[in-house]
């Protein structure tokens, strides 16, 4: 069996440092297996959050060799084991302990987004009719497991700390799922431009790169929302068109 070195972040909100753990690795192992092994044999107090070990709960987010990834979905065979593997907590959220961060800011942000508001029912029995083609587009966004890896990597949060002005890629995906829903009639564009800061996104696509659900965050959610914001607030021809339509 091969051996590998795991350089794991140990610490809490006050500070911390990397600690090396050398262990034997077996074929088919993922990083979360290694962390569990370290926890059971070398550092019983190592804090790690996980739940499903199947890439579906979004709990085991961390930074492996500097890139945001799910620990349970990162196979050791994908990593260069001849060098130490660094495993750190997500750097964009406050640290609780070791690999566990406090992601509750995200849940508070979510509360700011106007909820689903359907149009009047299509049928007298209070039900609606939707075409599959129209829901296909938002279906992609519903794959989100709220791992917040995209929030972690986004430089607007990570480097510029605009937590009070920018909701981050996860919530642009969420807003897009509502905004493009064929039944929804709520208008979120003003919020997206003003208080939720879609203009801060400079479409550098790191969020798309790290999404474990392969959601095309930038191309299918953020850019289409940016275009809707342009329609509403920046395009003079569209504005003129609306005046003639008597829209506003």
């Amino acid at each position: 069996m091969a051996t590998a070195t795991f350089r794991v972040w140990r610490g809490d909100a006050k500070g911390g440092k990397f600690q090396d753990f050398v262990m034997e690795v077996a074929p088919g192992m993922v990083v979360l297996d290694a962390i569990h092994e370290i926890q059971s044999s070398q550092a019983n107090d190592l804090a790690v959050r996980w739940n499903c070990k199947a890439g579906k709960c979004g709990s085991c987010s961390a930074e492996i060799n500097g890139m945001p990834k799910l620990m349970c979905m990162t196979r050791l065979s994908q990593l260069p084991l001849e060098k130490p593997i660094t495993v750190e907590p997500m750097r964009s959220f406050p640290l609780v302990k070791d690999l566990v961060t406090d992601v509750s800011w995200n849940f508070r942000v979510k509360e700011q987004i106007k909820p689903f508001r359907p149009r009047k029912p299509d049928a007298p029995d209070g039900t609606w009719r939707m075409d599959q083609k129209d829901v296909d587009r938002v279906q992609e966004f519903r794959k989100c497991i709220e791992c917040f890896l995209c929030q972690d990597v986004c430089h607007v949060l990570r480097n510029h700390h605009l937590y009070d002005q920018f909701i981050g890629p996860r919530f642009f995906v969420y807003a897009a799922a509502l905004e493009m829903h064929p039944l929804d009639v709520e208008d979120r564009l003003k919020d997206l431009r003003k208080t939720q800061g879609i203009g801060f996104c400079n479409i550098t696509k790191c969020c798309t790169k790290v999404c474990p659900e392969s959601i095309h965050i930038t191309d299918n959610a953020i850019i289409p929302l940016k275009e809707r914001v342009v329609d509403q607030f920046y395009d003079p021809l569209k504005k003129l068109f609306r005046v003639f339509q008597g829209d506003k």
């Binding site: 500097g66 937590y163 400079n202």
Partner: protein, 260 residues
């Protein structure tokens, strides 16, 4: 908007835990775009060697004023004597603006030229950040207007490509004809995969199924859009190559081979 409760530490420029060659991609973009801008500026300012037989360099098309073939005649008399003259100056701003405001290129050059960020999870040089939220980059939202011009240019370059098959009134095929044909195909793939076009043709609607024709167009644009980066680079390379090809033929360095 809720603020985060713990002040976080800001990482310094270039600092990262990444162990891969993260700097390669931005460096390639820097060199590729930089080389293109330098060459296009040089070629656009030459004002010469842009026609050869039935071929017209895409950097000079449409030729509004200039040679005997220009749309509106020779160099206008009102052009200030102190200002450098080239027919390309009158038109290159439009395709240039289209590329500069393109969503793909924006993301690419913010990284490669402005290190904002240099690469994912790599520390940035500046603390202050406005993104595209306010002046000046809020002007990137003008992109759809450049798209309208870009579509006009596709029509114009298609006409040039067609002319490239007619040698003194006879149909023929030279290597240059094929170069111009490939040029218009690649530029069409790029232009018709534009994110703004995708929005305008159908993305703006939540219930596209009620407009089946628009849905079809939306699907086609989405299909091109999925490879927008590839189209962007191929068309960028080829448009410069088309100019090089015609320029070297016109200078007598290369010989245009007639296939038939």
């Amino acid at each position: 908007m809720p603020e985060i409760d713990v002040p976080l530490e800001r990482v310094g420029f270039g600092s990262t835990s990444r162990s891969d060659f993260w700097w390669v991609a931005p460096l390639v973009v820097f060199l590729g775009l930089g080389a293109f801008v330098v060459y296009a500026t040089w070629a656009g300012l030459q004002g010469d060697y842009y026609r050869f037989g039935p071929y017209l360099s895409p950097f000079y098309s449409p030729e509004l004023f200039g040679s005997a073939h220009a749309w509106f005649g020779p160099k206008p008399g009102w052009w200030p004597a102190w200002l450098i003259w080239s027919p390309a100056i009158l038109i290159l701003w439009a395709p240039g603006g289209f590329r500069v405001t393109c969503y793909y290129y924006r993301g690419a050059y913010y990284k490669a030229f402005w290190a904002d960020p240099p690469s994912c999870t790599v520390g940035e040089p500046r603390k202050y950040y406005r993104g595209e939220h306010s002046f000046p980059l809020i002007w990137q939202n003008i992109h759809r207007y450049f798209l309208y011009l870009g579509i006009f240019f596709i029509g114009d370059l298609a006409y040039d490509a067609w002319n490239g098959f007619w040698f003194n009134g006879h149909f023929g095929v030279g290597v240059g004809s094929l170069v111009l044909l490939v040029n218009v195909i690649l530029l069409s793939g790029y232009t018709f995969g534009c994110h703004s076009l995708r929005h305008l043709v159908g993305g703006v609607l939540d219930r596209l199924s009620r407009s089946p024709a628009r849905k079809k167009v939306y699907d086609c644009v989405s299909c091109l859009n999925a490879r927008h980066m590839t189209w962007a680079w191929c068309s960028l390379f080829w448009v410069a190559f088309s100019d090089v090809y015609i320029r070297l033929c016109a200078m007598g360095v290369w010989h245009d081979w007639r296939i038939f």
